[in-house]
Symmetry: C2
Subunit: 426 residues, 2 copies
């Protein structure tokens, strides 16, 4: 196979004709596939339905009937310990919530906006509030900051994490920068895990704003694809403690992609001072979260199976899907020099970089042939990818055979749009 | 028995000596009782533990595995229908959330503060925002408005609901008044149900502020104590529709005191336009609430037992407690002319009116002898009861025998403090 850039006009035109024919053939099949979101498939859900048996009417609550009643604002002790172990921190630093870490993040931003952190001015009283956004990143993070009118600044990602030189420059000189969104392990969508050096530089930031916080969304901390090739991001809570800046970080995680996504449990870990500040606000908002669902999770992972075993089962379902996509990419695209993509060891996504100004057209072309991808641009603040090149691939939800079909269509669209772009240029 | 006001100084002094001795005797018992909050007791919790069996690993999800996954922001259809029936409205008007109606109310206030309703200015951008607060009322409502710096104005309650003349005067002339807190059926703490006329006058309010809303916390809508003496507040959502002002009301309810308080399901009902406005905000905040807990509740009340039967069981546990308190009040206090109290047909509270400037001292006196009551003043905004007279009695949580002990202590403290007050005056 020839690299597209080495083809002459005639070759490109002929290739284009050929690809158009192939596209029309696939389109005629009337596919209806969805690779848009990082949702587990039914078989992954079935791995966890046993959890629904753990707390039943015969469960021995002993003296703990208060778990069925109002109260216990920061979560039951067993759940705090469970998440503390998962996050490698102390249970004192943990608050256990309801089913959604996204909601916790929203609440933290909202609290900064309406009340401010640790006595600092509420952001709604400031002229300008900014957040740093490593890109490509998670669209729902960006949606929260945009919702509160917070200006977002793109920070490029490299293979070790976000560009720390740039972050230090911004955070240490600009008081209006109040936070940064990070998915530090198996990052959404690049799959990258931040290096130890990056984590240390985060812990040693010297922010101009007292209320600057690192929003450390450790969504994929146990979501390894391979048993023998695991990445583990360095513990930022501990690093911040050791750097004498314990208040610098809010860490988030949940069991959403561990057990049942809609019915999981989410948690936050932070310094004791931040926790106290948060609980003051929470005590107005809530009497207590669903403690039986917290207990359900703890009992399941204490008595039925370990997190490690459970996540290996998840991996055994996810791995063939990631590999199917990557194999097709390698076979069909590697020799052509028109795209790059990540080969993650965990998480839920493959990050695909097309040629400049091609991503929107590729996603649109896939859609017209019945396959939904994450909207091009969604991985950037305001939905604006300055290069219009990044596409987030989410292999988990479709069945394996459908995923292969969708990926074949995708690579076809990548080729087609790339050729069109090259013909335009010529 | 003689009315205290008819006693001369000598009689009062002698009575005081006698009451002091009685008090010291009770204090010596070292009681440790709690009548502070409207919490169900263990036997009430046991009425509902069967609900934990309904959704298990053998449950036939059929094609509805999406109930275990992300998504379905406004709640599963079955749950919307369940609450629509309970609230006598259409399921289109309902959003089903997580475990706490308090959190929904907090979110509504927070949304008004940060983003505003239906395109109106966010409250954080206004110089002054005020809420009307029928008093005595629910302390957690007042805590939310206070948290957002909203000025609260007391509105006296009478036997038909809040003083509508005063409400109309405020709402129709003052644009800074953005809402009112109401518990319209078996009100917290007075037990009063708003009359049809009051509901109609609410529906026909002509607010100066376009974003004025009635926060209609229908917390006790199925919480009748007697089968043959039930009160049902008129449907405000319908009344507002008929009055051509569908956007005027947010109605809240939950299963917290129906099934298990910490693990219930909460809902909001409102106009379609308000609902759309809310969902825009929610879509940033959350991917979906715990749909399995929603399903658990629907299946329980569809297949195991009806809400009516279930609430009759709850009533059979609560009624003896309410009657025990009321009997002691009647026997010990009725003849003395030093207090008044409500005799509710539902809900969770008895509202007790002591002589002026006595409530704080009574609650303190009870505390010193080992019995915790709701803080005096808590039923008023800012914790300030202008007459220092109201005390909220919550009979549900203690065991019946303990409740009787606590109530005997309470009436003793009422007598003692009342005599002291009369001696001071003389």
């Amino acid at each position: 196979m020839k690299m597209y850039k080495d083809m002459n006009h005639e070759e490109l035109v002929s290739l284009h004709d050929d690809l158009c024919k192939q596209y029309e053939q696939v389109k005629a099949k009337g596919l209806k596939l969805n690779m848009a979101r990082g949702k587990p498939d039914v078989n992954q859900l079935l791995l966890s339905t046993d959890i629904l048996d753990v707390i039943n009417s015969h469960y021995d609550f002993g003296s703990q009937y208060e778990y069925c009643n109002y109260g216990i604002l920061d979560g039951i002790d067993e759940a705090k310990e469970f998440f503390a172990k998962m996050l490698n921190t102390s249970s004192q630093n943990v608050i256990v919530y309801g089913n959604s870490s996204l909601t916790i993040m929203f609440d933290q931003i909202s609290r900064g906006y309406t009340h401010g952190y640790l006595g600092e001015k509420p952001w709604c009283q400031l002229d300008k509030v900014k957040f740093l956004c490593p890109v490509p990143g998670y669209d729902r993070h960006f949606a929260i900051t945009e919702h509160f009118g917070i200006e977002m600044i793109n920070i490029p990602m490299n293979e070790n994490g976000p560009d720390m030189d740039l972050i230090e420059k911004y955070v240490e000189t600009d008081e209006s920068i109040k936070g940064i969104w990070c998915v530090p392990q198996y990052s959404n969508p690049t799959g990258i895990t931040y290096s130890d050096e990056v984590v240390e530089r985060f812990a040693h930031l010297n922010p101009a704003a007292k209320d600057f916080r690192i929003f450390w969304d450790n969504a994929y901390l146990v979501h390894h694809l391979y048993n023998d090739k695991q990445e583990h991001v360095k513990n930022l809570i501990k690093a911040c403690q050791e750097a004498g800046q314990p208040n610098l970080v809010f860490e988030f995680c949940s069991t959403s992609k561990v057990t049942l996504p809609g019915s999981g449990v989410a948690a936050l870990a932070t310094s004791l001072e931040n926790k106290e500040d948060i609980l003051k606000h929470m005590s107005i908002q809530c009497i207590g979260y669903d403690k039986l669902n917290q207990l359900r999770h703890v009992e399941y992972f204490n008595k039925i199976e370990s997190i490690d075993t459970h996540m290996q089962k998840q991996a055994s379902l996810l791995k063939p899907k990631f590999e199917a996509v990557l194999n097709i990419f390698e076979r069909e695209l590697e020799p052509l020099g028109i795209a790059e993509w990540t080969k993650p060891l965990g998480g839920y996504f493959i990050s695909f970089m097309a040629m400049e100004n091609c991503a929107k057209a590729i996603v649109q072309k896939c859609k017209e042939a019945g396959t939904l991808l994450t909207t091009a641009g969604a991985t950037y603040p305001y939905g604006q990818d300055p290069h219009d090149a990044n596409i987030r691939i989410a292999p988990s939800f479709p069945k394996l055979e459908e995923l292969k079909q969708a990926t074949e269509l995708f690579v076809l669209c990548v080729k087609l749009i790339s050729v069109e772009k090259l013909l335009e240029k010529a």
